[in-house]
């Protein structure tokens, strides 16, 4: 079968665009270093989620709640493609690496910049598949690069993973992981664990069968691939697999929980975040919604879609699984991040996993066995009635089930869920989770005339609108032990950027109406904000430059799915049509148009560099 064959491309697939500048940086090879150790160094930001536990917490405190009001733009850089900028910059050994969306003259172009000055070191442009943009399912975003052992890893929308020499941008290997002509694309940031580059696919709407693939970081060869649907041998479910709840036990449930053969076009793509617990030797990630079947066409639980998996990174074998939304009705992918923290719950120390669900429930689970400890609504939720903690089953609300003959009104949350891919941040100082999310409800009815590949059809009309209170987004702090919201900031538009929190007790996030904000991590007071050229859907990061200054960086440039939702803001009752058809950023002139800027901030530099040595982290 074509899609599971590693297609190692021998010829070069890209161009090195800018040659090395002889001054300003060293060509000395980057020493091999364990990524876990490397991620503990707060001067760097070596993976999109900062560390394997996905905290997005930095111990840097040069910028803190007391002085963040003085934050200034230090330098900026354009990646040259005005589409949704969701990528996290990564910073290793004084170099900042950033990737552009799949758009513009050089789709998915990679840039290496001096992290202190912004000077360009090199740039790499993959050779794009010319057909990809028209054939790809939905969007052209890229959520970031990965790094390990002197190599930078890039996923391209048209289905390739590329390894580059971190020093000079030289292409080391290129492997085809997904077939774009089948609708398979890649938008997620890879994660490297124990020498394996973990890559998941996108494109559930196109009949893609979701999977996570592990590539050897030195050769690009496929080490293992775990499908999200189908027989146990494809899902890599074996003797070690021990789900906590009985309804997920049994043979080949990835086949039996579907009508005959429907699992083959089953969805369950893997386009979100992966976390890793070295002590347990387990990776954790969530799978997307079932597709392309409508819910009435696929009676059954549709395993293993919308499922959190714990797997052994060495061979991919599953240790446990937990299906968040059995028989998903609302496109509620559960690809959101799983934050690994140790919590004291009811007097017991638990190795916990926090999963802010698309469905609006904040899951706190035992990451050793997949038991749900709590699942509290963190936004307006009426589509479901919570989780039965005895059985672990989500309780659907029959009144909100989509139906052929009637309009189902006031479904909360709407299809994008209470929170989408935009990652949260966890502070071990405040013990709070900082959550950027949306606050939207919807009406659904079947009536829209659609047309695709020459075939007319009848689709669903989805009206999305602001949830109760009339606002569409929120940035809030959540206490996962007390299971409550400690503070919140209401935002006019959905908050589609990621979050960052630091030891300086500052939390950062961006809004679609062009504000990058720093707030007090303790009480949510806005301490500073910066009005950028375009809205924010990116991921803030922080690091220390070679000049001793702490920098905070984020991409500015709104686009993609947020465009659809931001549309709703122009008129709260505006009909969006079939989801995704109105996704162009060009449709949003009232708030923002597209952008492509990397923005890097710092405090004003002291008069003499030695005068203010920043404090080291304890």
């Amino acid at each position: 079968m074509l899609r599971i064959v590693a297609d190692t491309v021998l010829r070069s697939r890209g161009w090195l665009l800018a040659f090395l500048f002889s001054t300003g940086f060293s060509l000395a090879p980057v020493a091999a270093q364990d990524l876990k150790q490397l991620s503990a160094d707060d001067n760097q930001w070596v993976m999109a989620p900062k560390d394997y536990t996905n905290t997005r917490f930095s111990g840097l405190d040069q910028i803190n709640a007391g002085n963040v009001a003085q934050l200034k733009l230090a330098w900026a850089f354009s990646v040259g493609a005005d589409r949704g900028q969701e990528a996290a910059p990564i910073i290793i050994n004084g170099t900042l690496y950033i990737v552009a969306p799949y758009a513009g003259v050089h789709p998915n172009q990679v840039f290496a910049l001096d992290a202190t000055t912004g000077a360009l070191k090199w740039s790499y442009a993959p050779k794009p598949n010319l057909a990809a943009e028209g054939v790809a399912c939905c969007d052209v975003v890229n959520r970031g690069l990965a790094y390990d052992d002197g190599k930078v890893f890039l996923n391209t929308l048209d289905g390739y993973t590329v390894a580059l020499d971190a020093n000079d941008g030289r292409e080391l290997w290129v492997v085809k992981v997904a077939e774009v002509n089948l609708g398979e694309t890649i938008t997620m940031a890879p994660l490297v664990v124990k020498g394996k580059v973990l890559v998941g696919d996108s494109g559930g709407e196109m009949g893609v069968r979701g999977s996570l693939t592990a590539l050897d970081e030195n050769s690009g060869r496929i080490a293992w691939r775990a499908f999200s649907t189908g027989p146990d041998k494809d899902v890599l479910i074996g003797a070690d697999f021990k789900p906590h709840y009985d309804w997920m036990k049994g043979q080949d449930l990835g086949v039996k929980s579907w009508p005959a053969d429907a699992w083959k076009l089953g969805g369950g793509t893997v386009w979100g975040w992966i976390s890793y617990d070295p002590d347990q030797n387990l990776i954790f990630y969530g799978t997307a919604n079932p597709g392309p079947w409508n819910s009435n066409q696929r009676p059954g639980d549709n395993l293993w879609t919308t499922t959190i998996f714990a797997r052994n990174p060495d061979d991919g074998s599953a240790k446990w699984g937990y299906q968040v939304n059995p028989h998903d009705l609302f496109d509620h992918d559960e690809i959101n991040e799983n934050v690994l923290v140790d919590l004291n719950i009811s007097g017991q120390d638990r190795k916990a996993l926090i999963h802010p669900g698309r469905n609006g429930l904040m899951y706190v689970m035992d990451r050793t066995n997949g038991e749900v400890l709590s699942a509290e609504p963190y936004d307006t939720v009426n589509a479901v009635n919570g989780v039965d903690l005895e059985t672990g089953r989500l309780q659907p609300n029959e009144l909100k089930q989509p139906s052929l003959n009637r309009t189902v009104e006031d479904i909360c949350p709407a299809a994008p869920g209470a929170k989408d891919w935009q990652p949260t941040a966890w502070s071990p100082k405040t013990h709070l989770l900082y959550v950027p999310h949306q606050h939207l409800c919807m009406n659904m009815k079947t009536s829209e005339v659609g047309y695709i590949a020459g075939t007319p059809y009848v689709g669903a009309t989805v009206d999305m609108y602001a949830g109760p209170g009339g606002y569409r987004g929120e940035f809030m702090a959540w206490d996962p032990v007390a299971r409550n919201k400690v503070w919140r900031i209401k935002e006019e538009l959905p908050v589609w950027s990621g979050a960052l929190v630091t030891a300086g007790d500052v939390a950062f996030y961006g809004t679609m109406d062009r504000l990058f904000k720093a707030v007090d991590a303790k009480d949510g007071k806005v301490l500073w904000q910066f009005r950028a050229g375009s809205g924010f859907v990116g991921q803030p990061v922080t690091y220390k430059g070679s000049d001793g200054m702490q920098y905070v960086a984020i991409m500015s440039g709104v686009g993609g799915w947020p465009g659809v939702i931001a549309n709703a803001a122009l008129d709260p009752r505006l009909r969006n049509g079939a989801l995704g058809f109105t996704g162009a950023v060009q449709d949003l002139p009232a708030y923002t148009v597209g952008g492509s800027s990397l923005l890097v901030f710092s405090l004003p530099k002291p008069a003499t560099p030695a005068a203010e040595q920043p404090k080291e982290k304890q």
């Binding site: 010319l130 009949g207 076009l265 409508n294 052929l404 075939t455 009848v458 989805v462 049509g577 058809f581």
Partner: protein, 274 residues
Amino acid sequence: MMPRLWLAIAAALLIAASPRPGHAGELRVCADPNNLPFSDAQQSGFENKLAELVAQALGKTVSYTWWAQRRGFVRNTLKAQACDVIMGVPVGYDLVETTRPYYRSTYVFVSRQDRDLDVGSLSDERLRQLSVGVHMIGDDGANTPPADALAHRGITGNVKGYMIYGDYRQSSPPSRLIEAVENGEIDLAAAWGPLAGYAAKSSPVPLRLTPIGDEAKFAPLKFQFAIAMGVRHGDHTLHQQLDDVIARKRAEIRELLVSYGVPLGVDAQHDAAQ
């Protein structure tokens, strides 16, 4: 697909998204380069022929912007000002402004004649036993009406889905559904008439096409659609010109459609049998 054809498509896509200034003498058409019987890069589809016919009537020449007719098609072509008309869209398709319709067709059941299946309604009880193929769309809540109607009746276990998108390296990916009937992979397919009618003309085995006659039974689903041309909202001048051509050239257009095997209006069965 032939490599040569693929190159042609790739070259065409390279220029797709860039808005080009229109000549007054050009009919700028947005079209899929790989979607027969409607259109392809060799301009051998009936929408290509129709574009020639319309351009001739308006004293213009045809130019193309090629893009796969999928999610984002209208946004990347018509709305991006790269071209001015989409030759075929259903009336009521609100991403565009639609002209008066120039044909009306129907979803049909397709089976091999040697199977002698006279299923003509989605209420037919035999649909619970037969292996039935349908096209899958995949956008949230969207699917082809026969697929939804079968699910509404609880018929799911024996229904096989074929992606409307398919494998874009192959020619006209939606045709795989009809080929599955030809080679016996499924007993019956429910497909949009123009696709099925065209396939039946060149099928290696004789096919039987039967219109799906369920008009209101599965409302709001419907199985007949009137097809028009689509222009940008507000492009009333071109809209008016196209309306005039459609009115004047009705007979020629009908002849063209019949030559491609398109089941037309209530006479679908009769037309397809030609």
